[in-house]
Symmetry: C2
């Protein structure tokens, strides 16, 4: 199949639109950005309607602080039932830009440098989501009223904060009917490098916690009170230290590994064949000092197929200049566990909660908050017809077949859709390993952006050739 538009045409037509979208700081973790969430939703609704899709926005009364879900679909008529239905999933919310001082450009005023576009959300996920909007716009011009496929599109606004709204939405019968599809396509993953496309068939899940330890109701002078009561920051570090054994790289919460599916021999071989350079991995990992992780596993296994523990934030007492001799009244941490098949977040949350209840010293108070930004881990079938179309589209567009990999990240919707709609997800992601997801200076390669548009067009065209 050959699509007539050149990469340059696509760039000049769609890049300015992407820039518009990236300018709206739709940060879901910070409630001050609620108006920006609204603006982003309005922008996307307008765009989807312009493409010719029937668009509707869903908010749930049961989750008043939730962000709307945008649903859009091709026109439904008598013939629709004869056509294959492709569900596209994406998210319009982005990570907070912190630490803001480490950005070289304004995170919400996109800049083009070295054929990349720099902005928060450039690749995760606004830029990748936009490859589908652009592909549909192109196909709409090509197909007019006669689409050979049905498109259903779901764009949520809480992917970075646990997706409470979509999780609740995916429980109703009406939603089930609305979303009925043959396959789901998601572009929120990455290539191995610019020349090595990849399709991720396994994803990690995640259980996320916030622990706050308190004692006195005010900061105390450590000279006068020091030694007489338990310092909350000491208690916090002590609890955190009991969750993980640094030397073996093992999580030490009892029962944590009970449900973990070990990699079989074949999978180990596939992962072992992946090109891995310690030097370039460390370079991409912000010039990290050295590899470190769970004993008896390779770095690829550790970061994609093994569960992990990370602390994401610590805060307590005085962090200003100079010394200040206080016993802080509280100390807090955010931390999470990445999960792999067949761990269940709810079960892990219970294990962690019970363990912390047990080990937390009696001399302090604490509060454990459970978030769920990651949900369940998932594994997809590599031999479905849809996967074959994806492989062909990628091969035709990028000149090389994709490698099947596992990802260490979490796209909880994949597991949720599998459970709810009994459909597979094809992770056709166009990111690159140095895109700085969730970090300062996030970017998206403009070539990946425009080729991504072509690749999506090819994929939808292949899907359209199928008789059901």
């Amino acid at each position: 199949m050959k699509n007539s538009k050149s990469l340059a045409d696509l760039e000049s037509k769609y890049l300015p639109q992407l820039i518009e979208l990236l300018k709206i700081p739709s940060v879901s973790a910070l409630s001050q950005h609620k108006p920006d969430i609204k603006k982003t939703v309005a922008w996307l609704e307008k765009k989807l309607t312009k493409i010719g899709l029937e668009t509707k926005t869903y908010s749930l009364k049961t989750i008043p602080d939730g962000n709307p879900i945008i649903f859009a679909q091709t026109k439904q008529d008598k013939e629709s039932k004869q056509k294959p239905t492709i569900l596209i999933y994406g998210h319009y919310d982005v990570q907070p830009p912190d630490p803001i001082e480490e950005w070289k450009t304004d995170p919400f005023n996109p800049e083009i440098k070295n054929n990349n576009i720099y902005a928060r959300g450039a690749t995760d996920d606004k830029g990748q989501l936009f490859t589908h909007l652009a592909a549909l716009e192109e196909l709409s011009e090509m197909w007019g009223e006669n689409w050979p496929i049905n498109i259903k599109m779901v764009i949520e606004g809480e992917e970075e904060v646990g997706g409470k709204t979509i999780s609740a939405w995916l429980k109703s019968k009406q939603t089930k009917k609305l979303l009925k599809s043959d396959v789901c396509v998601i572009s929120d993953t990455e290539f191995l490098d610019e020349k090595s496309p990849a399709i991720e068939y396994g994803l990690r899940g995640c259980s996320y916690f916030e622990l706050k330890v308190t004692n006195a109701d005010k900061d105390l002078h450590s000279g006068l009170y020091g030694g007489g009561l338990l310092n909350p920051a000491i208690a916090l570090t002590n609890i955190l230290g009991k969750l993980y054994d640094q030397s073996s790289g093992k999580i030490t919460v009892p029962g944590f590994y009970d449900q973990v599916a070990e990699l079989d021999k074949q999978e180990k071989e596939v992962l072992a064949k992946l090109k891995f350079s310690e030097k370039s991995w460390l370079k991409n990992a912000g010039n990290a000092k050295s590899l470190h992780g769970e004993k008896n596993y390779t770095t690829v296994e550790r970061t994609t197929a093994r569960p992990t523990f990370d602390i994401h934030g610590l805060w307590s007492g005085f962090s200003g200049e100079g010394p200040k001799t206080i016993i802080p009244s509280s100390a807090s941490a955010k931390f999470s566990f990445r999960l792999v098949a067949n761990q269940k977040p709810a079960q892990i949350e219970k294990l962690v909660k019970n363990y912390i209840d047990k080990i937390a010293p009696k001399q302090i108070n604490f509060e454990l908050k459970i978030f769920s930004p990651g949900g369940s881990p998932s594994i997809s079938d590599r031999n479905s017809i849809w996967m074959k179309y994806a492989v062909t589209a990628i091969k035709n567009t990028f000149g090389k077949e994709p490698t099947f990999t596992r990802s260490g990240g979490s796209i909880p919707i994949v597991a949720e859709l599998q459970e709810f709609l009994d459909i597979e997800s094809i992770l056709m992601g166009y990111g690159l390993p140095d895109d700085n997801l969730h970090a300062p200076n996030e970017k998206f390669s403009i070539k990946q952006f425009t080729k991504g548009i072509l690749c999506n067009m090819e994929f939808y065209q292949l899907c359209g050739k199928q008789d059901l």
Copy 2:
């Protein structure tokens, strides 16, 4: 001895002046307050000159970022040598007001409530220092040109941040000559309660550290990189956890206790006789949940005569609302050890540094900064003539003899003056245990303020009766 001024007279004359002084936010830990330091110095110079003291301000070229030391003395003439010389030490700098949101009043706009004055520095140390300025002003009116004693006064501006300038100043021969005195008086301590005056004869020292652990040069996505490198926040909590054993309350840095002078039987008896109510101690300690500390020691011993470990601040990664799944690029902590006789800060700093060098994992980088806000611990003689004058002055003013106690806090100058000038310090402090030193809502009892003025007058008058 009977001084004619009533408490009400003293209050109406001196409280407005103290309010003026408290309004200037002379926070030494934050460089933005340098102009306020200057204003405070100018205010005090003017005041001291008005009292009739020869006033001079010292800054050291070797410490360009240091805060000036104010020196003032009574006129020196032929007869000066025949008179006893009393050195008064105080500090004009204050702690930062953080956490600012927990103040019920503006920390730098003093308010009077329930016969207390609320402001940062109200008791530590501007209010207490002012009891001497007021006493000297009263005595100056009484004695005119014929002072029976010499007064030398040193007011520094770095007590809350390690006193680098005064430590350097106390090394020169000129300073030694300038400060030559018979005894030093310091009001920077507290009563056991309103009805129980106390003189602290033992003080703790302090070694203060800041540890920063770094790895990647940017925050990383914990899904993509988690499990592959050592998270700095994990490494930090791990190192901190190895400095202290929570269950025994013991510091676990090898060699840490080697120089600690154990309490002798008599001292243990004196401390055991002190009125101690667990309930009211916990109440004063910000309603802390329960007592906790070093095994086999009482709370009084733990907080005054035993070394301790405290974490004062933790900061790393994301502390905003909601979940954010990053591996932070760095993690930092401020922590300190309180020291007791005969520990030497320099030796402890070396032990801690060597130990951290040894236990810090090789997979991360770290930087250890050493501050010295506390300096050496000290012990004073309870039977000197000066101590007897202090006891008498307190008894006559407050109606009760002071109890001799140890303090858990640090006034490093006490040890420094002992070493440098070979003089004792009398800690005639007028604070109360609920004054919220170093914490939000710091206050000073107005009654303690005015009675403190009278008590100082009485003490100086007693000193003036002595023939040398």
